[in-house]
Each structure stands twice: as structure tokens, then as C-alpha cells.
Amino acid sequence: MALYSEKVMDHFRNPRNVGVIEDANGIGEVGNAKCGDIMKMYLKIEDGIIVDVKFETFGCGSAIASSSMATELIKGKPVEEAMQLTNKAVAEALDGLPAYKMHCSVLAEEAIQSALNDYYSKLPKEDAEVQE
């Protein structure tokens, strides 16, 4: 099918890092079912490194492929580096997306940001507890 690149189809047919991390310390969910796309990211971060990442996605082929590619791009990376991930990088790594599907890569970027924000939001509390 010429709708998507081979790379997109590969990540859609064989998505990497699918599933749930039970003891995730960063979880983010973006999108809504009304618009037809929801992405949920689970991060396991140890010593500032993303040691594991998993996703669940409700959406079209490019949404599933974008989620999969985004997890590959951040796995094993320091959180600071993951914070820099852009939708453009996700789309490029997939050898491009059709113009009207670029929002799927934006959603992937936002899902990761959301999970990282969740992780960060939990940090100060822990720090505070330690200080007490």
C-alpha cells in the first residue's frame, strides 16, 4: 500500500514496546476518543535514564507507528534527551508521514512529554520527603 512508507508499515505491523509497565514512574496519556486517537506512554526511569518504555494506542496506522517509533527513539536515553524529542524527529525516523497524518507524530511527542512531566511532578515530593 502506497499510503504509508515501508517504515511506517513495519512499525504498524510489528509495533515495538507495546504494552504496560506495572511499576512505571512516569505515565502520560494524550488525545481523545472523539477525535479517534489516544496514546498512553509508560516510562520506567532509573538514575535519570529511561530503562524501559511501553505504549498503548487507539488510533490509525500512523498513530500506532508513531507511538512505536517514539518509544524506540527514547529507550535507554537520559530523560533530558527524551525531553528534546520532536514530532519532526519521529516523522523523519518513519521516512515521513502524509501531511494530514503529521498530527500523529505530534501526539507521540506530546505523549512522551506528558509521561516525563508526570515523572518530574513526582520528583519534588520525593525530594521533599527526603529532606524532612
Binding site: M1, M9, F12, R13, P15, V18, G19, E29, A33, K34, C35, G36, D37, I38, M39, K40, F55, E56, T57, F58, G59, C60, G61, A63, I64, Y100, K101
Partner: protein, 394 residues
């Protein structure tokens, strides 16, 4: 490959192809030319007009050949609007789930000062004649309601609606693009004033169709130019396409009964099999629908990924999800029958042809079940539904 998208288009029949190619090769004259080669082409068109007319119970001069269903819809609505305008009537009645060829033409007319009432099609996808009657006003100039819906296949009570329009002396047009060749249509018995049809929905070629306009109705042209089609549609005629359309419509009408019997049995088997998938629902009335049409919603998944995975399994189908419509909203047809956005995104339309086999139906059921289960296995929506965080709708 299993082709289950016959509502999108059909494979051309061998008869239509051989008619088309022989006309292309032998009858290449311009029907407007006076030498024999031209006049022979002219004869082919007039013979085709007779054939098409006889299938729907019309007279040959009531048939205008067009480039397809959309052009026929556009012209029919223009005809109704122009007559209305002359009589100071600028109200048109239609339904919320018409084809865009109708809805967008009506939008254009609204911008020109017409008022449009879109009738409810209810949960079963069927218009109620009494609601048509109640909607007709003194200034209503046209009622346009499709014969059968292109997405959910529901067949409308056209004869009753036509009778209401006759009684109220309002012009009645029906977009019969999905119906012709598949269910009996007779413009006289069904009280139809104008009707649109497209050849490629019944194994004819793409790019050709026709508009039936009852004699006595003043015709407005969409395309001005030469005097072709008795001055009602300019442009050198698509002779091979018209000849092939006539061959296809004849063939379809001759085999309609037997084909419908086979397709209805296969359709019902498919509906029964897919109904066993948990949290799924058939869209549209279960029996008052086209012989080959099956349309389901599956909760917790999105239609485009479903189609791509079915394609991998060799099944060609379609969906009303936003991603396949190229907009943010899912199918207006599914929304019109009351499906909420979340559910409408997970729709699947399978429209089988008369050559479908029982083994293929079994394979489709098995494949859809597998793909739906797989997509649900990593859908956060499905997880929320199963955990009770969200409520099942279906």
C-alpha cells in the same frame, strides 16, 4: 484477494468490457457527425438510451447521460431549485445521511438563499414518509432522498415518499446510485420524478452515469455547449462508456433476483458471524438493507488500522473513521443514525458481490475477529472499558 468494497466500485463485467472495447475500436466516430461512422455511434447511444430506460420503466427521452452519479445529483437538484425559484419556492427537503454530491450541492443552494430541511433518519437508518409529509411546506420545491444509503445500505420507502410528494405536488428526486442493478427500481411504480445512477456500481465503467427526468419537467443544464443529449448536457458523448453502461445495467437487471438471493444469504451469514464479536453492533436496519451491505461498529478500536490489517490478510473493505474520511469527524452517516464519535471511528463496511463464496465469508469473519482482538489488546480505550473506568456503549 477478497474484494468486499463493492459499494465503492465494482469490477467491470466481461460483457461490459467487451462492449466497451469493441465500441472503442470500431465505433470511434463522433455521434454528431453526419457520415456513417458518426451515425453508427449515434445509433449505439440511442440503443443504450432505450436499454437503460426500459430497465427503470422510463421512456428513452427521459434519460440524460452524464459523467456519473455526482453530476446527475448536481443537475437534478439544480433542476428542482431553478423551477422552485421561478415559482417563488425556495425550500428543499433532504436527509442528514445523503451522499456529499447531494449535501454539498444543497449547501451551495443555501448560500444562494434556499432553505434546506434535513430529515432525521433514525436509529435504523430509514426515513419516515409521514415525516416527509410533515416537512413539506407551501414553498417546498424539491424533495431529494436517496434510494439506498451508500454506507449502511438501508433501503428507503421510496414509493411511499414519492406518493407523498405527488399528492403535495412537489418534485421528488432520488439518488439511486447504490440501488440500481441491485434492487428493483421502477420510476413509474415508485413515483419518482428524477433519479441518479452511476454505471460503476453495477459492473459498468467509471465516469459514466445517467439522470432520469420525467417528461414535462423543465431542465436546467450544468454544462453548456453543443446540442448533445437534446441540448440538456453538452459535450461529446462518452460512447464506449454509455454502451458499456447499457450492457451492464441490462445484465444486472436480468440476474438481479438470483444475485440478490445469494448476496442476501451471504450478507446475513456475515452479520451473524460478526455479531458474535463482543461489543459490536450492526449499523442500520438488519433486513431493509442492500443485499451485499454489512456495516459494523467495534468498540475500542479505530477503523483505519482495522482496514490496513485486513488488507494484509487480503481483504479489501472500507470504514467511516475520520482517518479514512480525511477529516476530524467520522462518517456523517454513522453520526446521523446516532452513533457517537468514539464508536463511529471503529466502523467497518463490507460490501460483497454476487461472486462471494461461503468459505470467503468464513475467512472474513475469522480475520475481522482476529484483527479486532489484536487492536483491542493494546488499545487504552479498550483497557478503560474493561476496567470499568469507562462505560461500554455497545
Amino acid at each position: 484477494m477478497i474484494y468486499a468494497d463493492n459499494a465503492a466500485t465494482t469490477r467491470m463485467s466481461d460483457t461490459a468490457i467487451s462492449t466497451m472495447t469493441s465500441v472503442m475500436k470500431e465505433m470511434y466516430g463522433n455521434p454528431s457527425s453526419l457520415y456513417s461512422l458518426g451515425q453508427e455511434a449515434k445509433e449505439i447511444i440511442e440503443k443504450a438510451r432505450e436499454d437503460v430506460a426500459s430497465v427503470i420503466g422510463a421512456e428513452p427521452r427521459e434519460i440524460i447521460f452524464t459523467s456519473g452519479g455526482s453530476e446527475a445529483d448536481n443537475q437534478a437538484i439544480r433542476i428542482g431549485a431553478e423551477i422552485g425559484k421561478k415559482n417563488g419556492k425556495k425550500h428543499i427537503i433532504s436527509t442528514a445521511f445523503e451522499h456529499h454530491a447531494v449535501l454539498h450541492t444543497l449547501k451551495r443552494l443555501e448560500a444562494e438563499g434556499f432553505e434546506v430541511t434535513l430529515l432525521d433518519v433514525h436509529e435504523n437508518g430509514i426515513v419516515r414518509p409521514e415525516e416527509v409529509e410533515a416537512a413539506i411546506r407551501d414553498d417546498t420545491c424539491l424533495v431529494t432522498i436517496m434510494f439506498a444509503n451508500n454506507e449502511i445500505g438501508t433501503i428507503q420507502p421510496i414509493r411511499e415518499i414519492g406518493a407523498v410528494c405527488r399528492e403535495k405536488k412537489v418534485l421528488f428526486h432520488t439518488d439511486a446510485v447504490q440501488a440500481i442493478g441491485h434492487v428493483p427500481v421502477n420510476v413509474v411504480d415508485d413515483n419518482i420524478d428524477m433519479l441518479s445512477s452511476s454505471a460503476h456500481k453495477y459492473h459498468g465503467p467509471k465516469g459514466v452515469g445517467f439522470l432520469y427526468v420525467k417528461k414535462g419537467i423543465r431542465i436546467t443544464n450544468l454544462i453548456e455547449g453543443g446540442a448533445q443529449e437534446q441540448g440538456r448536457r453538452a459535450g461529446t458523448e462518452n460512447v464506449p462508456g454509455i454502451a458499456a453502461m447499457a450492457a451492464a445495467i441490462k445484465e444486472a437487471s436480468e440476474h438481479m433476483e438470483e444475485n440478490a438471493k445469494v448476496m442476501t444469504a451471504m450478507r446475513d451469514k456475515l452479520i451473524e458471524g460478526l455479531s458474535r464479536i463482543p461489543h459490536s453492533a450492526l449499523n442500520g436496519d438488519a433486513t431493509r438493507r442492500l443485499p451485499g451491505n454489512v456495516n459494523f461498529c467495534f468498540e475500542g478500536i479505530e477503523g483505519e488500522s482495522l482496514l490496513l490489517l485486513l488488507d494484509d490478510k487480503g481483504i479489501a473493505a472500507s470504514s467511516g473513521s475520520a482517518c479514512t474520511s480525511g477529516s476530524l469527524d467520522p462518517s456523517h452517516v454513522l453520526l446521523a443514525i446516532g452513533r457517537v464519535h468514539d464508536v463511529a471511528h471503529g466502523s467497518l463496511r463490507l460490501t460483497v458481490g454476487e461472486d462471494i463464496t461461503e468459505e470467503q465469508i468464513d475467512y472474513i469473519i475469522k480475520s475481522v475477529k482476529e484483527v479486532v482482538e489484536y487492536l483491542r489488546s493494546f488499545s487504552p480505550v479498550w483497557r478503560d472499558l474493561c476496567s470499568g473506568k469507562a462505560q461500554f456503549i455497545l
